[in-house]
Symmetry: C2
Subunit: 692 residues, 2 copies
């Protein structure tokens, strides 16, 4: 981990010698000509907009761009209107987003479309799972950019502000307008004055970029901070405590966004501790921030150590509460019903709560997708999720349309991504993990974008080689497109399916190592551990077969899906094979659509995943001459580790499942190179961090 100081030093060095360390992200464009900016209004935000335009302008020399801040019925929220005259928006922030749109088009060679562009979601939120001591839960890119431990940890330095500004600029450039500064497994400390002072400082740096700060609130904070005897949401003292706390915060940060809450989940306290509902709890906090325009994002990620299928529990808990939440509450729902797996069907809550604002939560940090070691472009996963049809209001009721206000008249629309940002020089640990930050922002702004387009944009912005000869005019040569852009984009677009293949194909899920959620751990099931924290609970492998029966003969979780999905998923003839073992327990010799047995097909998937990663290595190595040395080597090195790990996944899962199937791995497949007992011993030797 670099210290903050060295981060900044490296940043400047990198600018001066043209070496690239990834710190500049996708913001590497430089102006090739001058542009006049005309603005009748003046503000810090408009100054930034002007400066960005002048620094990055690639349009006609001497053009004029007029900023017009003026309400227009067609322009919604942060939207803007582009025309030959310039940019019009309701707010200064809208102008800034218009500027970034213009620059992106110029720097990627995309045609600039005139007309109104509105964002899909009002709130485009990053959730930082940053702890007060500077560690980041499920963070793989170094320590927190917001918090640190030790003496003077709360002193705001110039370096802090510089980094926060860079962070704000990066977010604004892709449309993110909200950030939750601390972990959902929250500490009450953040709600105390010393920490709130730092929150205020952060808010001040982020504000000109249109980004509001939010905090994760610990439900038991009144007891922990002020020794209240209860945190019961109907208790007047508790109600007053939260009102006073809201007032205190808003006095310091008038545009404070509100709270994010994880309650009655995985050991966190919540309203159920007092016999109250999630609605009671959410409304308590919502009422406290309501006078100031604040909101509460209340997480639906709840499950008890009960006999009930974990995949069913959020739905069971929340659907009965539909209509009981106050209008400034948004229920934040993970994309899948279990937990950010490489592939899950969408959570049945989407579209099912028709009288409640719902927002998707996706995970940008790669907790279950290879951390910042594996190259996995998550955009395709999110695209698949957003385009999933819930059928809740007839065909075409996609998750995207169920959450962006197209179908249900939600007061607020929002989408959240769990951040992958840390103090690492390149922000995200892996150079390509930046593409996930980028993709999340782009999809949050426009949930109809294709992953192909997002990858195309990101690669052009991130890897185009500026040089003396081409700095004044960006042109993507056929050579560059054929030998860099096209193969590398293809690799990105395949990368998530590869990860599914070598980790959890055919609907398998939650079979990772219990420790770091990195490698495989299908065997992990110590005595006296809650079953729903162990992989065998999820894969259900036995001598007869494999998979979780969620049909009528099993947990019947499938019934939570709106028809025709219920029938489609229940029926083996129509259930997509990608979800097969999510919904069905099937014999090892079950005949797949390919004609192969389930066992053979499973083997083929694991091997295909490994071969795909090997292919990625070749793609990248062949791209060497198109990439600066440091970033080339960074990625090359990580791909090697990914390849090794993909082999470990394949070997572990096939050898483990083979102890049940008793069938040979098809002989046309490369053999395992690891022995099961060694893999298990290595896994078990690691410190157990039960922290789901």
């Amino acid at each position: 981990m670099k210290t903050l100081f060295s981060v900044v030093v490296l940043f400047f060095v990198s600018l001066s010698i043209q070496a690239e360390d990834g710190h500049n992200l996708w913001l590497r464009g430089k102006s090739s000509s001058t542009v006049n900016v005309v603005s009748s209004k003046k503000s810090v935000t408009l100054d930034i907009a002007k400066q960005e335009l002048q620094q990055g302008w690639q349009g006609k020399e001497g053009s004029s761009v007029v900023f017009t801040v003026k309400a227009d019925k067609l322009i919604k929220g942060d939207g803007f209107k582009l025309s030959s005259a310039g940019i019009q928006a309701n707010t200064d922030f809208g102008i800034l987003y218009g500027v970034y749109e213009l620059l992106r088009c110029q720097q990627t060679g995309e045609e600039i479309k005139e007309g109104v562009i509105n964002p899909s979601y009002d709130l485009r939120v990053l959730n930082h799972w940053d702890n007060m001591d500077g560690s980041v839960e499920r963070g793989y890119a170094g320590l927190s950019i917001f918090w640190r431990k030790g003496e003077n940890s709360l002193v705001v330095t110039e370096n802090d502000k510089k980094l926060w500004q860079e962070y704000a600029r990066a977010n604004a450039s892709i449309g993110i307008n909200a950030t939750v500064l601390n972990n959902v497994n929250a500490s009450q400390l953040v709600l105390t004055p010393a920490y709130l002072n730092r929150v205020k400082a952060i808010a001040e740096v982020l504000r000109p970029y249109g980004i509001k700060v939010y905090l994760s609130a610990k439900f038991s904070a009144p007891a922990l901070i002020d020794k209240l005897k209860t945190c019961d949401p109907v208790n007047p003292e508790v109600i007053n405590w939260w009102k006073a706390k809201a007032k205190e915060i808003y006095t310091m940060i008038p545009d404070f966004g509100g709270f994010l809450v994880k309650a009655n989940s995985e050991g966190q306290s919540g309203p159920q501790d007092y016999g109250r509902t999630h609605a009671d709890g959410a409304n308590l906090l919502a009422d406290a921030v309501k006078p100031y325009g604040g909101i509460v994002m209340w997480r639906a990620f709840v499950y008890a150590a009960s006999d009930e299928d974990r995949a069913k529990q959020a739905y069971n808990e929340f659907v009965p509460l539909d209509g009981k939440f106050h209008d400034n509450v948004i229920i934040q729902v993970k994309n899948g019903p279990v937990d950010f797996m490489p592939r899950e069907p969408f959570s049945p809550l989407f579209g099912a709560m028709k009288k409640t604002s719902l927002m998707p939560e996706v995970q940008v940090t790669q907790e279950y997708l290879g951390h910042s070691i594996h190259l996995v472009f998550l955009s395709t996963m999110w695209e698949e999720f957003l385009k999933s049809d819930t059928y809740q209001e007839g065909p075409g009721s996609t998750v995207a349309r169920c959450t962006d206000g197209s179908i249900f008249p939600q007061k607020y629309t929002a989408i959240a991504g769990v951040s992958n940002v840390g103090l690492d020089v390149n922000w995200c640990g892996h150079q390509f993990a930046q593409s996930n930050w980028y993709a999340f922002g782009r999809l949050a702004w426009n949930n109809k974008l294709t992953s192909d387009q997002i990858a195309d944009e990101w690669l052009k912005l991130t890897f185009y080689k500026y040089s003396k000869s081409n700095a004044d005019q960006i042109s993507f040569s056929a050579d560059w497109k054929d030998n860099f852009l096209s193969p590398v984009k293809k690799m990105m677009l395949e990368s998530r399916e590869a990860a599914v293949n070598y980790m959890m194909p055919l609907g398998l899920h939650h079979i990772m190592s219990a420790n770091e959620h990195y490698g495989p751990g299908p065997w992990w099931a110590p005595a006296r551990t809650r079953k729903d924290w162990t992989p065998p609970y999820y894969h259900q492998a036995d001598s007869l077969g494999i998979g979780f029966d969620r049909t009528k003969t099993g947990s019947n979780a499938v019934s939570q899906y709106h028809e025709p999905l219920n029938s489609q998923f229940s029926d083996l003839k129509t259930c997509p094979e990608t979800y097969l073992l999510w919904f069905h327990h099937l014999p090892w010799d079950y005949k797949m659509k390919s004609g192969k047995t389930l066992w053979d097909e499973l083997c083929n998937h694991y091997d295909a995943g490994l071969q795909q990663v090997r292919g990625f290595q070749k793609v990248w190595d062949k791209a060497q001459s198109y990439v600066d040395a440091q970033r080339f080597t960074d990625v090359q090195s990580k791909l090697r580790s990914q390849s090794k790990n993909a082999q470990t996944w394949k070997d572990a899962c096939l050898l483990y499942f083979q102890t049940f199937s008793k069938m040979p791995i098809p002989y046309d497949i490369e053999r395992p190179i690891n022995n099961l007992d060694e893999l298990i011993n290595n896994d078990m030797k690691r410190p157990s961090l039960i922290n789901y």
Copy 2:
């Protein structure tokens, strides 16, 4: 490691339940019919011969076999004559060897050839590098079968005797008739009465099987045991000490074989400590054992930390002494001029010392060939070595003919193999390492055998599945031959070339890890280490190229080879590419016969080696139904580790050499999955055991 007790228990269990753990080696044959044995003479050895014949007879029911111990001019030493009447030999041991020959033919389906069969070498020796504390230097099959540490370590138990008998029987069955019981890096302890008592006990068990015991003698023993002030070989006190010691030994063990000596080599004392020559030293001991018919095997494995090319030093040291050794001295010469590498040209000493008995020393234990983890059938390496033409007495002066008495009238002919035997249930650590013990014995008996035949025999004897239905008649079905024998034999025959490919192709040598001599370590060169112990001394890689220049422009080691070899090796047009970097330093872009650059060819070899091992895994997995479960799993597990290690070798060497070549690994080759810095760090973390 199993205790001796459990070894024996397992042995009996394995016999009774038909499970196989490998303890029975290639001696699994059972009689299918009765045979009458007629012998005019009676002895323990002839009783054994009779019992073996009756236990394993697969010939005609009720046949008669006559044992005739009677001298015959055509029968030499341990030879024998087979005829329809029976077996004739000079000695009882000859009868026993004839019995094993008969049984081998019956059990492998080979036609029994009538006539005289004589061994290629008089002495067919196993060298055990066993230490007095029970550890085995370069042993990968558990502790010593002869020595152990702790209280009562010198007590001879029934279990000891049982194991030694099994060992003796295995050796006799393949013709081995001599065994050196302790490490060449010798302890003087073995020459003291308590230890000699145990030697006597071992000799008594081995004697009926025709095996004589030998001991490695420490040159400084007179000083260490009896505090003599010098060990100078011309000092009368020293001379008398050795004479007395010989007398003491021969009094206890009348057929004691003699001494093996490592002197003035790698820290061992020797005659040069007193300004004397190796001949002075060897003759000292030779004279002491001469009255009893004993011999001295004196090792030529010597090299000083000088500037002279290590590959030249043994020749330089010993050739001037030709003719100066007494006639019961045999110079024991390692097959190659450096040290048991995966591939070396033969040592130029062979055929060069025309007035001295010379014996080859090969290494059965896989010090540099993957320990008992890699499946490497060494027979092909030894065959290549024995068939190498030295040209010393014209074309056809092969190493075999230079050492077996065909060309030079040596008083003694001998060949030694460094044993791979230990206390492991299967004796050798790896089931297939047994084939190397087998092959060494077979080649020592008949140095014209092909590796194909040896592998064929060994596989039939070792893996034929006896069952109730076929126990009475061995028949190798087409199915068995096509699907087991043929592919598995092919794997064995390719296995050494595969190891050369993934470890040290194209004449590279001595680039293994300094620690265990297992994995790769081309980088290893700490400050203040003698250069000739470091891999960079041997590969000489730099920005210009790679390889050790042993031509006239370099060390001129090539001049030690008899013409036309000197010219052939010196000339790039005629130097075999297998020895290319042994004799030449060549530029990375040197054009190989394939048309490829040296760098590309090197990459191809490393990758080919890895792919070969992957192929072996498939061969073995496909053979599953033909092999008992335990041995199948044993080998399968080791092949996985070998595959992983082959990948490590490939990655380490290519990534390390790439730091010099600066050339890309050809894009049609699978990419490395390890990073060089991690490989080096892992290697360096191991405890340094500088012990060459």
